[in-house]
Every structure is written in structure tokens, then in C-alpha cells.
């Protein structure tokens, strides 16, 4: 799938702040969905990791003013919201470390998104706001990197399931 980002869709600082808030809200919602999925799959450690990430995104969203109306109809990032975790990038046996590794990739994408806007927007006001938001995202990246150092690194064979989903037929 290939729809290029439309950075021209962001015309003002207010537009950008609204978009930034929507990014954080959607990201929180996606992490919450993943937390529920992992609870149902009885992988509670990873469910808790996703819940921690969702709560972090909630706090990030609360940094922005509440939306006065509907979110912008046109989002500038093409087909992939940089901060939303890919729903099929997870595995039912993944560890908390993987959840934060996934989050790191998306925080880095968000940082890249704001960095590009900070240099390429044709609106001075947007460039200045994007530079501030990029700095903020850098803080999020650092935080997730720190959490990764605190978590146990999964074993190499973490994805091997000796009690696999269709064991009945093989046994």
C-alpha cells in the first residue's frame, strides 16, 4: 500500500496540535486493544506492558489542549499513522521487551514525522511548532529506550510453542 504523506495538509500551529493529540489518542487506543488481546491470550506480562504504554500515551495526549471540534479530516501521514502500532506486528508469545521495542519503533517514526515537518513545511508557524513537538518526541524515545534496558531480553527461541495451537492433529 503506498499513499505518500501530505505535509501540506498542516497549515497552522492549531492544526498541528490537533493532529498531535489525535496521534497520541489513537496510539493509546491501539495499545489498550493490544493489552486486552494479550489478557485474553493469557500473556499477562505483555498485556501489562501494553497497558503501561497506553497509560503513557494518555498522559502524552493530555499535554495538548482538548479538541474544540472534530479532529482534522485529512491526516498528513499518508496511510501509516507514525505513532500507531501495527496491529499485526505482534505475536501471542511475545515478551514485554517486544512491546516496548515495538513502541520504540513508533516513537522514532513520530520523531521523524515532526522532524520532517520542522524542516519542510512551507508555514513558519508549523515549522516552529513541529520543532517543539520533535523535541518532545525525542523525550518519549529516550524514555522507551530506558524502559527497554530495565526489562529482561527475551530468549532467542521465545516464539517456539511446544504446545502449539493445532497440537491435536499432530498427536
Amino acid at each position: 500500500m503506498s499513499k505518500e504523506p501530505d505535509f501540506g495538509a498542516v497549515r497552522s500551529s492549531a492544526d498541528l496540535l490537533a493532529i498531535a493529540r489525535v496521534m497520541e489518542e489513537r496510539s493509546a487506543e491501539r495499545y489498550r486493544e493490544m493489552a486486552v488481546a494479550f489478557e485474553v491470550a493469557c500473556n499477562l506480562d505483555t498485556a501489562n506492558a501494553f497497558r503501561e504504554l497506553a497509560e503513557g500515551e494518555d498522559r502524552h495526549a493530555a499535554d495538548f489542549p482538548a479538541l474544540a471540534g472534530q479532529p482534522p479530516r485529512v491526516m498528513p501521514w499518508g496511510e501509516e499513522d507514525p505513532e500507531i502500532a501495527d496491529p499485526d506486528a505482534v505475536h501471542y508469545l511475545m515478551h514485554p521487551w517486544h512491546a516496548f521495542d515495538l513502541a520504540l519503533r513508533h516513537e522514532e517514526k513520530a520523531l521523524a514525522f515532526f522532524s520532517v515537518l520542522a524542516t519542510q513545511s512551507s508555514h513558519a508557524e508549523v515549522r516552529a511548532e513541529a520543532a517543539r513537538l520533535a523535541e518532545r518526541e525525542r523525550g518519549h524515545v529516550d524514555h522507551v529506550k530506558q524502559r527497554l534496558t530495565e526489562l529482561p531480553v527475551p530468549p532467542r527461541d521465545w516464539y517456539v510453542d511446544e504446545d502449539g495451537p493445532n497440537w491435536e492433529a499432530g498427536d
Binding site: 500473556n43 496511510e79 496491529p87 499485526d88 495451537p165 493445532n166 491435536e168 492433529a169
Partner: protein, 279 residues
Amino acid sequence: MTSCNIPNTYAAKDFKSDVKPVWCPGCGDYAVLSSITKAFADLGLAPHQTSVVSGIGCSSRIPAYTNTYGFHSIHGRALAVGQGLKLARPDLTVLVAGGDGDGFSIGGNHFLHACRRNVDLTYIVMDNRVYGMTKGQPSPTTESDWDASAMAPPGGTGMTPFHPLAIALAAGANFIARGFSGDPNGTAEIIAEAIRHPGFSFVAIMSPCVTFREEQREWKDTMRKTAIEATKDAAQAARRLMTDDGFNCGVLYRGNRVSYGKDKVVSSKVSDLDAEFTL
């Protein structure tokens, strides 16, 4: 808010229920659920104007996860229920949803005749080319040589995969499209257009089963938006399907047949109905 406290606009989250999905982590159906609820919100629908009907299977659990009218019906019979509902309550937006096994095998005959009948509803099939709920048997859309599951015969079924879009076109569906769960916004747009289009609208959504068909994670790299505009010419749509590799997303066909029942809607008073039952 209106005077009876019904909000006049609903967000996508208003169409999601509080029931936790039991789909596997990474299942494409999560994204399809989000696309459906986004489409409802984008169309300005309200939960009480909307109904989701399903059959049996992983994806058929979807009525429980939506905050609309819903009916989790019996295997392969979702279209029969959905058509009945639409004819009885033409004011409702009816969306029928299910999987490839439910829709094309157990419900295959209903699918053919629903296309022919052309009742004004939208049918979404979340196609993962496997029976996931029952642990990985080949479905009608499974590749003929697929035998990676312990539940598949060695060497695969040897059967030609069912081509849902071609069958839908041949049987008379009035709107035909393909979406991909990895593109939830694009898929929401397709679903919204399918709902707006009169008659029977069929949307096949490729939705990976990451548990039994782990290789389908690669669909992220193989699915593409079609560069070709939709056509209202069935013959042209058929020619395009001859070279379709199953990875093109977008609207293929927009027909202009009049919906079944459009000229048959009659309103009866309750007293008239009572009279029919008087002994």
C-alpha cells in the same frame, strides 16, 4: 444532544461494545472491526439505525463487539438472516459479516443467491484462507497446495481456490470491492462506499490469520491499491478479474441494478396483522 438525549453525531468508538474480543493478538479482524465502526461514524449513522449480522467463525463474533443491533446467527446462514432483516426493516443499515469458510463453503449457496437477489445490504467477508476457529483446516479460498497445518491433507487439498469476486460478479452482486486489514482507513472508505451503494454490496477483506497462516503477515508487503478505476461494465470487470492475482485492493465494480424489495415495501398496521390471526 437532541431533546431525547440521543447524540446527533457518533464517533467510531461509540459503535464498539465493552465486550473484549477473543481474537488472537495480531489477528487482522481487530483492524476490520475498527474499519467498520469508522465507516459507520463517517456515514453519520447511529447505533440504533444499524445492524450487524454474522454466521459462525472467528470473524463472525463481530456483532458482540459492536454496539448496534446484532444477530450472531447460524453457520453459513448470516445472509438469509440479514436479507430477512432488511426486508422487514428497510430503514436499518444492515451489514452482514463473516469469514471465508462460513460465507463460501457452509454458506456458499446463500452467497450466490444473495448476489442474485440484490437486497440492499453490505456483505463483508474477512478472508484469511483458513478455518481458524477450528484450528487450521483449509477453507474454500485456501491455495490448493497448502499443507502447512497439521489439519491439512499432505500436499494440500488439490482443489482450485474459490474466487469470491469473480463469483460475486457472475452471480449479480451490485458492488464488488476488496480491502485489506493492514489498511484500515482505506478499508473504512470502501465499506462506507459499499453501504452507500444501493443493492447487494460485497467487500472481501484480506485479514491475516497470524496463528495458523503466519506467512500471511507478508500481505503487508504484497497487497496494493489498484491503479484502475472502478467500472459499471460487468464485462470489463470480468476481464480485469482474469488477471487479478488477489492482491489488488479497491472498488472493482459499481452496478446499477434496482435493489430487490425496493418496490415491494408495504406497511401494515398492527390491527391489520392482528386480523390475519383472528380465528
